[in-house]
Symmetry: C3
Subunit: 317 residues, 3 copies
Amino acid sequence: MKFESPVPVQWVAEYTGARLVGNDTQEATGINEIHKVTNGDISFVDFEKYYNASINSAATIIIINKEVPCPKGKTLLVIDDPFAAYVKLVKRFRPFQPAYQMISDTALIGEGTHLQPGVFIGNNVRIGANCLIHPNVTIYDHTIIGDNVIIHAGCVLGADAFYFKRRRDQVMQYDKMESCGRVVIEDNVEIGAGSTIDKGVSGDTIIGAGTKLDNHIHIGHGAVIGKNCLFAAQVGIGGKAIIEDEVILWGQVGVSKDLTIGKGAVVMAQSGVPASLDGGKAYFGSPVGEAKPKMREMAWVKRIPELWEKVYGNKNL
Amino acid sequence: MKFESPVPVQWVAEYTGARLVGNDTQEATGINEIHKVTNGDISFVDFEKYYNASINSAATIIIINKEVPCPKGKTLLVIDDPFAAYVKLVKRFRPFQPAYQMISDTALIGEGTHLQPGVFIGNNVRIGANCLIHPNVTIYDHTIIGDNVIIHAGCVLGADAFYFKRRRDQVMQYDKMESCGRVVIEDNVEIGAGSTIDKGVSGDTIIGAGTKLDNHIHIGHGAVIGKNCLFAAQVGIGGKAIIEDEVILWGQVGVSKDLTIGKGAVVMAQSGVPASLDGGKAYFGSPVGEAKPKMREMAWVKRIPELWEKVYGNKNL
Amino acid sequence: MKFESPVPVQWVAEYTGARLVGNDTQEATGINEIHKVTNGDISFVDFEKYYNASINSAATIIIINKEVPCPKGKTLLVIDDPFAAYVKLVKRFRPFQPAYQMISDTALIGEGTHLQPGVFIGNNVRIGANCLIHPNVTIYDHTIIGDNVIIHAGCVLGADAFYFKRRRDQVMQYDKMESCGRVVIEDNVEIGAGSTIDKGVSGDTIIGAGTKLDNHIHIGHGAVIGKNCLFAAQVGIGGKAIIEDEVILWGQVGVSKDLTIGKGAVVMAQSGVPASLDGGKAYFGSPVGEAKPKMREMAWVKRIPELWEKVYGNKNL
């Protein structure tokens, strides 16, 4: 998320109640996730094992729960609860704005684009030319849609990230990470009925040009889907997964968060992908393996009784 | 379901055409399921193997398809088809009421609660304070929602139980069990886009306080979900399942009906749960087992070819 | 899809730019898929291995990308890109018609049928008597619904087929197969909340009388579901699958396209069906097998360590 105009880092320190260490003259231009930050961005870190990655990222302002050596030119904002500080900033710079009409006055709709009845378009949404949005679709604030996009009925674009912090202070509870990212749909995408694409926590969830999604598909917060991918019905993609171009996922495949599926990979139906996969290969199983060894594995399983009989002289189960 | 006012049991016998055995002076105060009945409730049973459980439950009025010894003070309503009698009562006391506007006049909406456009709120719905209901959500009649609840776009709360009785009289058909239960959402729950929570057949489907559901989740009729649970996208929970507090279900987990998952259990992605699980442990697989033995099992499978070679001197498949 | 009135085959040749071979005097009465064509239908084929099936089908007009011997009385329309010709015809005879109101004036709604608020009914939809359509349901153009049908909130009937042709001319892209088929829901069907049923590419997607679908179910384009089937939540059915009468699919079952599941088959939860199954049996697993051998297979897997120990004298993993 980018701020509408830059904000002095001293103001950020004061607003969040953090102690400023290092550069106290720069301006913050936005908020983003560690893997997407650029110069001027605020990032946050509250786990020691991510300190180095965060401090050495492109982020120039880091909200952190311990004072560590600050790289030259950067700013640390030291505070006990970086998560809460971050949420406070998001609520300040991207507060929820109630809608009272189905199509926001601040939405920009391109030429030749048709919205069927019952479509909700939130604030600051931009939709390109020659799109067709079918009935009862919901498009949350700040979503960006390219040209020639088709969205079937009942889809939801831009709902909040499913991202909570477990607390065990006096009582157990989950605190909500307010999300300020967007959903970005590139040109020539088609999205099947009843699919949902969540916004990123602070970065964007992106569906690459020419990608076609079937019905009931779930794309988690901050996932980046490449160009010309094909996902069959009921596929689910976890948060911040990266799916490269021309990947094919068959029905009911589940993909975990924070991994990469390489270009042109094909994952067979109902497979579960817990970790990154190389491109250009076919996969199967839950958890997934390369398809051919997996098929052989299944054939070997059927031979256990024979092997048992050879060893024991019987195959009583 | 509770009646608005108590109903004489003789009237119930007459209305359903049942023969009254036992106490003919008490009043019926509601209808409920065998595992949730309290004093004054009507229950029904049409399978001999459930006779005892039904007659010895807290229900004081039992619709039954055979005369059996009636406990003192209770009432049996004997009729060939208890299912049909039950449905007739539900249709009488909780008939479907057509709506002609998006927000029912009989709905109570708490202070600070905002309904986005396109939300449907049925009759007698109660929503607490400071809730946010996103566009195109449907909330059926009689649903109860607490405070600080967030419901994302496209959700459906309170649709009918998926509960049918197979008939093979002249022709095969399924008769619909009319449902008269409710959906009850406690405080601080968040429900992801496109999720559906069915009402109970005659009891309540409950989502405990602080529980967070991701997108495309299905909660079956009469399920009781504990507090501070976390369910990832595309999880499905069968009817009347009991999920205790702080259970975590990862993406695409399926849980069968009529079972219990103990407090704090964690079930890994795509697992299938056919029977009850102890709390405090991690599980994996379809059908599910404890995660570590299951992982070892998968490692053993990969050693079959080696074992085969040791025994047979080759590993030709 | 049937045309409103017959069209001379010479006009079709001219409109698509195809070369006419064979009978040049007949009239085309509609467009259909190879397994559903009847006399007067146009079909198309662009893979050599399907030439024979297409030419010998009941279709009397075949759009084809190579001149082959033409059966007496039939017409070949020879063109480099039959897919594009077909799409051009569909766009001509069944163009998308924008809607500007929730209930089309051309829809026919039967007596005793009630539409809850927020329902979208497209052009030329026909709904029978005594149906109940819950809020925020979307019914695309040309859908046909029988009597006594219940459709729960958030369902989408008649969205486009998920059917694309991969092109690699200068750049890789997917071309959309415009679909002109319909969704046909027979009498006494109930469809659970948030389910989606896609229209056929040129034939019909059919849900047989008395069939009950739970929530979040996906039925692909052109699938034909028999009578009195029962599908639990989150089941997905691929395009053109044939599910015969009285089949029961438990939760999260996935069924591939272009196969048949025989009458009365029962498929247990989370199973994946990649190929046809005989009727009257129970199945389990992904990929699916008959339930009993599959259960035994799982029991054998648990004995590998014992077998290993017998052979090697230890069971170290």
